[in-house]
């Protein structure tokens, strides 16, 4: 296996570790079509991990064969290497293993940890909440205006009494529709890989940026879905009012609350009040095709015989 494949994968990994996520985070079009942007982010994350681990693995296993599957199989069966094995082969192989184990390990660990916290919250909530104004929304007696949902097998949608007091009927319906959209589209699963990336590779500046962007896009996507189900003449304005009331309710940040950066909230409100034109179909499709190609490229480099 010549190093050309490993070099190509390494270049791809470098591009996906910084310039590509930075460009995607800076771009203006994702606001116009959050769903397509979310697909692109998943492709960037997956292709990034694949090419990073792949580049190390391809170089490390080079002495054993001409394609990764072939080399991997001879190595697993303990066949002698065709070419001399140098120190750098062992180093890259070890690095590949460490990185793979860490990424998968962190993913599993955050899955378990998040699941446990969710279960605890749900147990507590099921005892203290009361039936709410909407069929699937429960009411929690607390003055701060808060709405949230706990995703999972038994999802739970909760409104605080402060939220109900702060908003009118239509605005409340908008909040519930937004949270329902999170649950229906399983947005927590879209976020999970980026949470794992961020904790596995805290040195990677793109990981934090990617997580941030995906979080904002998920909120915008939920806003878009909510708009589709809202009655009334001005659903966009209703939802924007609900966001502003909930973000700034009770005179700023209640004690014990973490303030979020206003930029993300502002972006949501602005795109609701002054919607940009939707992405033209041609642009939509080229973004989706680019995402698929981005995934196919490292896969092909890994599976095909080395150049």
């Amino acid at each position: 296996m010549l190093p050309a494949t490993a070099v190509a994968l390494a270049v791809l990994a470098a591009l996906l570790a910084w310039p590509v996520p930075a460009a995607l985070a800076r771009a203006h079009w994702p606001v116009r079509d959050p769903l397509v942007a979310l697909v692109c982010w998943q492709a960037v994350g997956l292709a990034g991990g694949l090419s990073m681990i792949g580049a190390l693995l391809v170089h490390g296993l080079a002495p054993w064969g001409h394609s990764l599957p072939e080399a991997w199989w001879s190595w697993v069966r303990g066949m002698p290497a065709a070419d001399p094995v140098r120190g750098d082969h062992w180093v890259t192989m070890t690095l590949a293993a460490v990185l793979a184990v860490e990424l998968v390990g962190v993913l599993l660990l955050s899955w378990v940890r998040v699941g446990r916290t969710r279960r605890r919250h749900r147990e507590l909530l099921e005892l203290v909440v009361e039936p709410g104004p909407h069929a699937d929304a429960r009411l929690l007696d607390h003055p701060a205006p808060v709405a949230f949902c706990i995703p999972g097998a038994r999802p739970l949608l909760v409104l605080s009494s402060g939220m109900v007091a702060e908003l009118d009927e239509e605005q409340l319906a908008a909040v519930v529709a937004h949270e329902r959209a999170h649950l229906a589209e399983h947005h927590h699963l879209l976020l999970l890989p980026f949470v794992a990336w961020k904790s596995a590779l805290p040195v990677l500046p793109a990981a934090e940026r990617a997580h941030c962007s995906v979080r904002e896009l998920v909120e915008m996507r939920a806003d878009d879905v909510a708009l589709g189900s809202l009655p009334g003449a001005t659903p966009r304005r209703t939802l924007a009012e609900a966001i502003v009331a909930a973000a700034g309710g009770s005179g700023g940040v209640p004690s014990g609350a973490l303030a979020v950066s206003g930029a993300g909230v502002r972006a949501r409100v602005v795109r609701l009040l002054e919607p940009a034109d939707p992405l033209p179909p041609a642009a939509r499709w080229s973004a989706l095709v680019a995402a698929v190609l981005l995934l196919l490229l490292p896969t092909a480099l890994l599976l095909l015989p080395a150049l």
């Binding site: 969710r118 949470v195 502003v244 700034g248 309710g249 609350a257 973490l258 206003g262």
Partner: protein
């Protein structure tokens, strides 16, 4: 027959309403309209103890009481929801986070335009 979740809620309501520790037999009598057996009451109490919501004393018969009031539970929960650290945001999806006073004013100005 009510589900375990509903029974847990009903039992907690009784424990919160009671002045002191409550015996399982009394809980069964109070829940008589639901037609629950004493063993079911014990099952529910054991589950609630495992979840850390109920404790019992050593008297005979054993008296059960809530570990914290309903308000304390709600406050605890809200504290966690509002004080979510960045890495905990995966746990639940909040409609919108709280912003500081200046940001809130900016947002209201956006609406007013």
């Amino acid at each position: 027959m009510a589900s375990l979740g509903e029974l847990e809620r009903a039992v907690m309501e009784r424990l919160w309403a009671a002045d002191g520790p409550v015996a399982a037999t009394r809980l069964r009598d109070e829940l008589a309209d639901r037609g629950v057996a004493l063993t079911t009451v014990h099952t529910v109490l054991t589950r609630l103890e495992q979840k850390g919501f109920v404790r019992h004393d050593d008297s005979r018969p054993r008296g059960f009481s809530a570990r914290a009031s309903r308000e304390d539970h709600a406050a605890d929960l809200m504290h966690e929801v509002l004080g979510q650290a960045a890495d905990r945001q995966a746990v639940l999806a909040r409609f919108v986070g709280s912003v500081n006073e200046d940001e809130a004013r900016l947002l209201r100005e956006l609406l007013g335009r």
